[in-house]
Amino acid sequence: MADPDGALVLQTVGLRKHFGGVQAVGGVDLAVPEGDLRAIIGPNGAGKTTLFNLITGDLAHDSGQIFFRGEDVSGLAPQDLCRRGLARTFQVTSIFRRLSTLENVQTALLTHHRRHHDFFRPARRLYREEAMMLLDRVGLVGQAAKPSGILAHGDQRRLELALALASQPQLLMLDEPTAGMAPRERHEIMALAASIATDAKLTIVFTEHDMDVVFAVARRISVLHQGEVIADGTPLEVRGDPEVQRVYLGQRFRARR
C-alpha cells in the first residue's frame, strides 16, 4: 500500500498464525506510517491481541514478515524490540506491583540507559528528575512514593504508559488501553496518549472496543475480522465502508449517517 505520509514505522506482510486448526491471523498486511494514530478494531475473537503479540515477539508467527522502521524484526525477542524503539502496554496492566510508582519508572529509565548492570551506585538516586517528569506527564506525581500495586486501576494504566514511554520509543503499541475504565477516563487517557504522541513525534497503534474513543482519537483505522483486514482508512472511510458496517458496526452506525 503506497503511503503519502512518509516512512513506514511498522509494516507487516502476509502475517499468519494459526492455533491448532484455527486461523487466528490470516495474511495480515499492515502499513503504519510515522506519526500515525492507528486504531485496530474488530469484534471479539477477530485476532487483535494475537496480532499484537505476533508483532511484539510474544508469539512466533507461522509465516509472513514484520518490518519495524524498515528492518525485518521477525523473531526478535521483546527486549531487542524495545531497544529498537518499540514499546507496548498490555490488556491486563503489567507493572512492577511491589515497587513504588517512582521506582517503576526509574527501573525503566535505567534499563533504557543500559545502567542495569551497574552494581555499585544506589539506584534510588538515579534518574529521579527524569522519572518525576514522566510521572508528571501522565499525571501521577502525587502517587510517586506509593507501591504501585495499590494505585487505582486508571492510575496503574497511566503508570504503564509512563513505563512504555521511558524507553523513548518510536512506536507505542497499546493493547486495549482503556479496558476497565469509565467513559470519561477513557477519553482522558487517550487524549493524553495522543498529546504525548504529538509532542514526542511518536506513532501509536492501539486496539479498542469503544467506538466513541476510536472515532475521536484515531487518524486511521484498520478493521480486523476473523484474522483478516477487511478495511483500512480514515475514520470517515471506515465508517462508510459497507463491508465494515455489515460485519461489525451494525445498525447503529448505519442509522447515524
Partner: protein, 310 residues
Amino acid sequence: MTTVRAVGWLVVLAGLLVLPLVLPSFLVVVMTEIAIVGLFATAFNLLMGFGGMVSFGHAAYFALGAYAAALLVKQAAWPMVLGLAVAPFAAAAGALFFGFFIVRLTHTYFAMLSLAFAQIVFTVVFKWKALTGGDDGILNVWPPEALKSPRAYCYFTFAVAGLAILALHAIVDSPFGMALRAIRENPRRARFIGVNVRRHQLFAFVLSGFFSGLAGGLFAFFNGSVFPDFAYLNKSFEPLVVALLGGIQSFFGPLAGALGFKILETVIARQWPVYWPLFLGTAVVVVVIALPQGFVGLLQRRAWRTPTAR
C-alpha cells in the same frame, strides 16, 4: 540514615567488636558460625527474596567454595588467605555452569533442577576419592597460627563476612538490584523495558553462588575439615530455613534468622543431636502450614505498610 538507626548500627558494631573478647570460647565459636550462616543465607536471599528464584540446591556452591579452599591449601600448599580468595570464584564457576541450565526454567522446575545439580555435586565429591577423599573428607584444614584461636578467627570471619554482606547490600541497592526486583515482580514487563531477563537472572545466580562459596571457604577453615555432606540436602535447606525465619523481605532478615537458628541449634542439637533434623523438618512443616499466604504473603504484608517498599 536517621539518628535512631545510626545509633542502632553503632551498638551492633560495638557488640561485634566487644563480645568475642568477653564471651567464653564456645560462644565465640557459635558467633563465628552465625556470621558464616548469615552470609550464606544473605547470599541465598539475593536470589530468593530479591530475585524471586528459590534454589533448593545452594549447598552445591557452599561446598564448591569449601572444597576449593581446602584443596588449594592441602594439595597445593597455598596460604589460607589465597585459598579463601579463590574459593568464591570456584563456586561462581559452578554457579555459572549450572545456572545456565537452571535459569531457563521457572518455579518448581527451577527448584528441582537446582536440587538435582546439588545432589550431583555431592555424588561427584563423594565418589572422586582420589581428589576429594570421598567420604573421609579433607582433614586438617586449619588457618595459620595467627588466626587459629577462636577469637582471632571470629574477628577474621566478622571482617570478611561483614565486607561481603556490605557488598551484597550495595548490589541489592544498585541498578542491578532494582532490575532484579523488577524481574521478580513481572518478568514480561521487564523484557518490555529492555531487560534480558535470563541473562540478568544468571548474573544474580552467579553472584549468589560467589558469596555462598565464600561462606563455604570460611566454614572450611572454621571447621578444620570438609566433607561431602557440605553439598547435601540438609545444607541446602539451611539458608532457606534461616532466610524464612528471619524474613526474606528485608536484606538483614537472613542475618537475624541466622542468629535465631544457631541459638536453637546450639540448644537442641547439642542436647539431642539425633533429633535436630527432626526438629528442623517439623518446624518447617509447621511453619509452612501456618503461613496463611506463603512466601509471597510475607513479602506483601511488609510492602504495603511502608511506602518505599524494597
